[in-house]
Symmetry: C2
Subunit: 227 residues, 2 copies
Amino acid sequence: MPFTVPARPYDFVLDPRRTALVVIDMQRDFIEPGGFGDTLGNDVSRLTAIVPTVAGLIALFRANRLPVVHTREAHQPDLSDCPPAKRLRGKPGLRIGDTGAMGRILIAGEPGNQILPELAPVEGEIVIDKPGKGMFWATGLHERLQAIGIEQLAFAGVTTEVCVQTSMREANDRGYECLLIEDATESYFPEFKAAAIEMIVAQGAIVGWSTPLATLERAFAEAMVDG
Amino acid sequence: MPFTVPARPYDFVLDPRRTALVVIDMQRDFIEPGGFGDTLGNDVSRLTAIVPTVAGLIALFRANRLPVVHTREAHQPDLSDCPPAKRLRGKPGLRIGDTGAMGRILIAGEPGNQILPELAPVEGEIVIDKPGKGMFWATGLHERLQAIGIEQLAFAGVTTEVCVQTSMREANDRGYECLLIEDATESYFPEFKAAAIEMIVAQGAIVGWSTPLATLERAFAEAMVDG
């Protein structure tokens, strides 16, 4: 049965029969010291700090037998799915497909492109390799979610204002109700994380809702007692 | 021939043979006093203030015989293209399809859904009715732009952090190089406009570039003299 999750800008009514969790791009190259994100000069410790929260969120969905989707920003080894405009944006030597500390940068199958071991997908979960920041462009994910009756999405992952925000905006346009788990997402830039959340919940949830994991956990627990 | 436009975070090399202008949602209901945006309590004077700049930008593209695309956020009268989750987000009486001061809210063909007369499309320009915030979802625009060889897009319109940002992010994923004309876009919330631009140009133009109209005009003028 649907239940209420206290959230901003107002309560989110979650129907577990039609809700999935999406974990965006928790891949080694963005998060681990020595990876691509670190090489670019970003403070990855901000991102490693949310790993236990993301693990708790995944555990909550698994315990309730709800679908979990994992995404990775990944390109084919021949770069056929990487627009030249995207590759050329990078600095020489640090472009997509170049060899970095964890293998070829943002290339499917390379060590750096793997999801963190502590958040690894389990049998039966959906894993999406996406060539864009958004999870729907050129992935077929919308059709897969429709096929299993999903109409609501909880979001976690990195980074908040890039791949998470872009994916939420795509999802919102496609009619999904989106709930961001605000302590299970992070950015290299704290001011961008804060601004992205404000933009999402503004104007009566113009993109979606936001709440912390503990509030979602409490709402699930109360629903289980009642239900 | 391609020419250089000074921009943030670094120069944008504009190739006029493959560039189009996109003007997002300069529709009466978002901008005119008495329209839907005004009814919701927004300060529309911020948006009316950019109309001369947008008109100047359109004139620049027309004078150089480059394509201009106009979008409107619009739904079919039967709401068949409006997700229930989107319609129910609105306050009762102010929902999509309800009757407002300028006709049915966000419905194609209604007075409030028209582009401002001073920015009206002319014969031969592309006009897109879009059911989402992003201009690519369910519009066929990507195929139309590809058919005429467009690979770069200049962006103007409203509001910066909602429909403009969402459309730029979609365009970026599809391989377009995106240049925001920063004084030809506006938001009801100045802090969101500023944050959206910072997010766009961050990390080496992760979404795109930004420059004011006068800089673009000067670059066009110099290219015409040289070329």
